[in-house]
Symmetry: C2
């Protein structure tokens, strides 16, 4: 399954609980789109949030994020990893 890294801007001040809740909201509905969100990292200072997922397409990733209430600003297929 292809991997994707998506980026959310403007999440300044995000807390550990908010990140956890957002991730839970994704996990609760991700199977609708055959997506799996594996990890997420947040920088509360700059407001950047990075989410790693396995998904059939970037559009599928976005549909889950949108339905969960937090549309991504960038979604990058990341076919290369080390």
């Amino acid at each position: 399954m292809p991997q994707f890294m998506d980026v959310h801007h403007g999440m300044k001040g995000i807390t550990a609980d908010q990140l956890k809740e957002a991730h839970k909201a994704d996990l609760a509905i991700e199977s609708q789109e055959n997506v799996h969100f594996t990890r997420a990292w947040a920088d509360p200072e700059s407001g950047e949030v990075f989410c790693l997922s396995e998904a059939p397409s970037a559009e599928a990733v976005q549909r889950v994020h949108e339905r969960a209430g937090h549309k991504a600003d960038e979604i990058h297929p990341v076919p290369l990893t080390v």
Copy 2:
């Protein structure tokens, strides 16, 4: 040890071998700064590269990347993860 996600722009067309070589160049010198690069993901189409590391500071991450010949464009501390 704090975690950091750094981002490189403009790496359009990067190949699997180039990503591997760049990562190897980081690993070869990272101990100079007490940094460890754990993972990296690349999108050859948009040219974005994401590197995850454990490091004492963002400056230490940048010093390794600079010495290895590929300065990061953004370095984000990511104290929150899921």
